[in-house]
């Protein structure tokens, strides 16, 4: 599910691009999967269709999707390697955000490390990897 938050300080079209990237990484949209039409997504998200068009153009420029004449937008195949690289970049970005929060809360690197270790250990011992809703 792509979501936009009009109260977030991030341009709506950027939120849509990030949303699709995450969905593609999670495998919700596989290679050559057809994206919703601009019209349908605009109505669903209650977003100006021009903004959706801008997000799709941006994704095409980044090579994430391609257009087929008269048929709409599709997820670009991309290699496993590229996908892993994207995943790594995304995880790194998220860790960066966490790090900034930890620093602002005056957490030491050791404390952060042990928190991460706890979580990693919890996952292996726990009932199952937690499921994202």
């Amino acid at each position: 599910m792509i979501k936009v938050d009009e109260t977030a300080p991030v341009p709506i079209y950027v939120q849509i691009v990030q949303g699709f990237k995450r969905e593609i990484l999670r495998g919700v949209f596989g290679p050559d999967h057809r994206l919703p039409s601009i019209r349908d997504l605009a109505v669903e998200l209650k977003v100006n269709p021009n903004t959706i068009a801008k997000a799709y153009q941006e994704m095409e420029t980044q090579g994430i999707i391609y257009f087929k004449r008269g048929q709409g937008a599709f997820v670009a195949p991309g290699t496993e390697e590229e996908r892993m690289k994207e995943a790594r970049t995304e995880i790194k970005r998220l860790f960066g955000e966490i790090l900034a929060i930890a620093r602002s809360l005056n957490l030491t690197d050791e404390q952060l490390q042990s928190l991460l270790n706890d979580l990693l250990a919890g996952r292996t011992h726990g009932p199952k990897a937690r499921k994202e809703a």
């Binding site: 009009e6 977030a8 341009p11 709506i12 109505v43 998200l45 209650k46 977003v47 900034a100 602002s104």
Partner: protein, 298 residues
């Protein structure tokens, strides 16, 4: 570039009170532009000039290439207006209003009118004076859209309405954009609801345009810089790009218009800085940063 709506140098005073001072811009076909301003900023006056209800003291306006003062009939046939003011005959119901209005509009679409009434839950056979404020507004929008306008002027379209009605109106507007490619110029002081809808934002203050920029660019270019300093300070020094600032002991915070790292660094060079964080602002926060402390006359 096509100029579906264009105006330059528009100036208007009421008595000795200046309401608009030399405002101008152009809006292309299919764009959605939001005119944000505090009460008394001059939003309604601008909308009334564009619709041809009043003439400007100076300057030119054109809609679809037509001067609204010189071609009032054609402008009204091709431009729809929805405002907070309800100008419908109170004793008529939606059916009667359609019978009365349809002949005046060459492109009137009965089927479309019925569809909008149904989707927004407007009863077709109840008198206008028995309708709630929200239902009246939805009826006005249905009437405006039934004429298949190329341009919609919306003056506070959501003002005083509940959340459900707001949602219904925004959804209807999105459908008009996707299905009919209408151009929308809307005024509001409720920014959040339109943050997802506007391509471009104009901020009107004291009769002038403070901002006229693409929504995404505005969100990108206005940033809040928060810094923790080694030593407490009294105030943030003035800078042409600082929209608002405050200092509280060793904490300083300022909002930069046209943010670049270099500008932020130059300002921070005033102090010995321990820690810096840069964050974005929401559209309502941006609006406040630009207009706070600028009381409007009314």
């Amino acid at each position: 570039m096509d100029n579906t709506i264009a105006f330059t140098g528009l100036t208007k005073s009421f008595g000795r009170l200046p309401v608009l001072r030399q405002v101008g811009t152009t809006i292309g076909s299919g764009q959605v532009v939001g005119l944000f301003g505090r009460n008394g900023a001059g939003k309604t006056t601008l909308m009334r000039i564009l619709y041809g209800m009043i003439g400007p003291d100076a300057g030119q306006a054109s809609l679809l290439g037509l001067d609204p003062q010189a071609h009032p009939v054609e402008v009204r046939q091709r431009v729809g207006l929805v405002s907070e003011e309800c100008h419908l005959y109170p004793w008529m119901d939606a059916n009667a209003l359609e019978t009365f209005l349809a002949p005046l509009y060459p492109k009137w679409d009965r089927e479309l009118f019925r569809r909008h009434l149904a989707s927004m839950e407007v009863p077709p056979d109840r008198r206008v004076d028995a309708l709630s404020r929200g239902t009246k507004r939805k009826l006005m929008l249905s009437l405006a859209l039934a004429a298949q306008p190329e341009v919609l002027l919306l003056d506070e379209p959501l003002g005083g309405l509940d959340a459900v009605v707001r949602e219904q109106i925004v959804t209807t507007l999105i459908h008009s954009l996707t299905d009919h490619g209408v151009t929308i110029f809307l005024s509001t002081h409720e920014i959040e609801q339109f943050a997802k809808v506007c391509d471009r934002v104009i901020i009107l203050s004291h009769g002038g345009f403070l901002v006229d920029r693409e929504t995404a660019a505005l969100t990108d270019q206005v940033r809040r810089v928060t810094a923790t300093l080694e030593h407490p300070v009294e105030a943030v020094p003035a800078h042409p790009q600082i929209l608002s600032a405050r200092a509280h002991g060793t904490q300083v915070e300022f909002v930069l218009n046209g943010f670049t790292q270099e500008t932020a660094d130059a300002i921070l060079a005033n102090w010995k800085v321990r820690e810096v964080a840069v964050s974005g602002l929401t559209l309502p926060e941006i609006f406040i940063a630009f207009t706070a402390g600028k009381e409007e006359v009314s």
